[in-house]
């Protein structure tokens, strides 16, 4: 194990049944502070369900979630957030009628900072993440790229030790994705947090992550370094179908 138990978010043997349908079965996952773990898999593989379990939005049918060696299985989202677990959403869920600044301030306040410290923290983050210019706009007035960025900044404002990003690059163009990747790469070191990234953009995942875990049909089918994962026949098959596995040495991007 590359990570120490006391600085790790760990899920062990997670199973989730939706009315008899197994969304996840016996999935285990762990990542530590300072690390970036990529979570990939075809549509419907159970990635978001797993993030929902980790962040308390979905109670697992079986298994345990350990946050820095504390059993937090089944705790509600806001309690987990206060223990240092942050997340973003595929659909971003910006506070549309609050200003960009208030969006981030809400994160800082929810993270337990006093008023003055929260204001300073929010403003520093907006400057650092390049949203200071638009801080006075209403959340719903932002273009898509900045809206997604705001979702991440707002989550950071609550000072998480583990941050789960659900498709942060969805809908971004190539340039925006590059900028995002550069930003995400600095987060673990700068904010001393562990990062879990769900993403369909394979080039982003391969270049960004320290390790990658692959889900398919609710099961974990592979885990390892980007280089290992892109050569893994099971992964290639899951993504491209059995016929493509023969040409696996070319590129997992397809």
């Amino acid at each position: 194990m590359t990570t120490q138990t006391e600085e790790t978010l760990r899920a062990v043997g997670i199973g989730v049944d939706f009315a008899g349908l197994k969304a996840l079965s016996d999935v285990s996952l762990a990542f530590g502070r300072g690390e970036i773990l990529g979570l990939i898999g075809p549509n419907g593989a159970g990635k978001t369900t797993l993030v929902n379990v980790l962040s308390g939005f979905q109670r697992p049918t079986s298994g345990t979630v350990m946050l820095e060696s504390k059993d937090v299985t089944g705790r509600p989202p806001h309690r987990l957030a206060r223990l240092g677990l942050g997340r973003t959403f595929q659909s971003v869920r910006i506070f549309g009628r609050l200003s960009v600044y208030d969006n981030v301030l809400a994160g800082a306040v929810a993270g337990g900072l006093k008023a003055r410290a929260a204001r300073r923290h929010a403003w520093q983050l907006l400057e650092r993440m390049g949203l200071a210019d638009v801080s006075g706009l209403q959340g719903d007035a932002l273009p898509h790229g900045q809206e997604r960025r705001l979702g991440i900044v707002r989550a950071l404002a609550a000072r998480p030790r583990f941050l789960l990003l659900d498709e942060p690059a969805a809908g971004l163009n190539e340039h925006e994705t590059d900028v995002l990747r550069a930003t995400l790469a600095t987060l673990p070191g700068e904010f001393d947090l562990g990062l879990l990234v769900i993403e369909h953009d394979m080039s982003l995942i391969l270049r960004l992550c320290d390790r990658i875990q692959v889900l398919d049909y609710g099961k974990s089918i592979a885990e390892g370094s980007p280089a290992e994962v892109r050569r893994n026949p099971a992964v290639i098959e899951a993504y491209l179908g059995a016929s493509a596995a023969d040409h696996g040495e070319h590129d997992a991007q397809g």
Binding site: G86, R93, Y101, W123, E127, G136, A141
Partner: protein
């Protein structure tokens, strides 16, 4: 250090200036309207006093509805609690013994007008704290229906608890004064309290929850406790308004705090714009003026030698029409959910000419 300096300069500071100028604008507006009305006939003064009480109720309602986004049809019930509480400590002992069957200590209870108003607010807040626990767990339309149930419970209790409330005949004998000072002062206080609350972290969390509950929870916001705090504080303001109402009219029954009043204050808030304090204040001033105008027309009038007969109910119909028109044409109300200030109004002609705003 550079970050700190900029934190003290641009947007946050500009925002604070805007918020303060907005508060001053609202206080000036209420002061101006009061000054106009106070010069008028005794009838007009009475209208003004009732209008100020309506404003207090609407501001109280706004503190919960506007910030949380959860609609409440129950706040007039808190107004009732305030009024009855004020009655219990303001009606002279002899009158109380004659009209009600109270425990001995309540017969003897007596308070000054200010104390009675405050006590009305406190008891209303207490009742709100009790009902907040179940109600705040509901969301959306369900929560709105829950608050409606609260209104009904309070109404039924007020109409039937004969020994305490006087039942369907209600209370009478509260000493009244002609001075407009209490209503005016409390209207200003209500606006300032609502404004101050808006600057707190609790209120920011409540507003964030209004915009998106899952996102708020993911940040660590528990929703129920913060929302309950807003509910209790807003009930306090409505209780104060009720206490003032009781002491203005001197006598009242349960019907004063039921559907027509609920409709009036809800219409005022929605027409003004329920997502801003400016909306609450402007809506209540605007509709108070309109409904007073319509009330005068209700009795029938002469126009160009033509006699228009009495049209009872014109006021209610007018309010309903204003509400419908708002919902159809401008769902966020007159203010559109923004805080209005004189500084903005001064900049308005330029903004309209230049069309510098980004399209929505």
């Amino acid at each position: 250090m550079a970050a700190l300096e900029s934190a003290l300069s641009s947007p946050t500071k500009r925002e604070l200036v805007h918020r303060i100028s907005s508060l001053v604008t609202l206080l000036l507006l209420v002061g101006f309207v009061t000054l106009l009305g106070a010069e008028g006939s005794p009838v007009l003064q009475n209208v003004l006093e009732n209008g100020l009480i309506n404003l207090i109720i609407v501001v109280g309602l706004y503190m919960f509805v506007g910030n949380s986004g959860v609609f409440s049809f129950g706040h007039v019930g808190f107004m009732a609690v305030g009024a009855y509480t004020a009655g219990l400590v303001r009606i002279p002992e002899g009158t109380k013994i004659a009209l009600l069957q109270l425990p001995h200590w309540l017969d003897r209870a007596h308070a000054t007008p200010l104390e009675a108003t405050l006590l009305g607010g406190l008891v209303a807040a207490l009742v709100a704290a009790v009902v907040a626990l179940p109600i705040m767990r509901l969301a959306g339309l369900t929560a709105g229906l829950g608050t409606f149930a609260v209104l009904n419970i309070i109404y039924v209790v007020a109409a039937n608890w004969n020994s305490f409330t006087g039942g369907s005949t209600g209370m009478a004998g509260l000493p009244t004064t002609a001075a407009i000072t209490p209503e005016f002062s409390w209207a200003l206080i209500a606006i300032v309290v609502a404004w101050l609350f808006q600057q707190t972290r609790v209120c920011l969390r409540v507003r964030a929850s209004r915009e998106d509950e899952p996102a708020a929870r993911a940040l660590g916001i528990g929703i129920v406790p913060d929302r309950a705090a807003a509910f209790v504080l807003s009930a306090f303001i409505c209780g104060v308004g009720g206490g003032l109402y009781g002491q203005l009219t001197g006598s009242f029954g349960p019907d004063a705090f039921f559907l027509p009043t609920t409709f009036t204050v809800v219409a005022m808030l929605v027409v003004g714009g329920r997502y801003s304090l400016s909306g609450a204040v402007i809506g209540s001033v605007f509709l108070s003026v309109i409904s007073e105008g319509l009330r005068r027309l209700e009795g029938g009038f002469q126009i160009a030698g033509l006699h228009v007969p009495a049209r009872p109910g014109l006021e209610e119909v007018g309010l309903a029409a204003a509400l419908l028109l708002t919902l159809l044409r401008r769902p966020r109300g007159i203010t559109g959910g923004r805080e209005v200030s004189l500084v903005d109004l001064a900049a308005l002609p330029g903004a309209l000419r230049g069309r510098t705003r980004r399209p929505e």
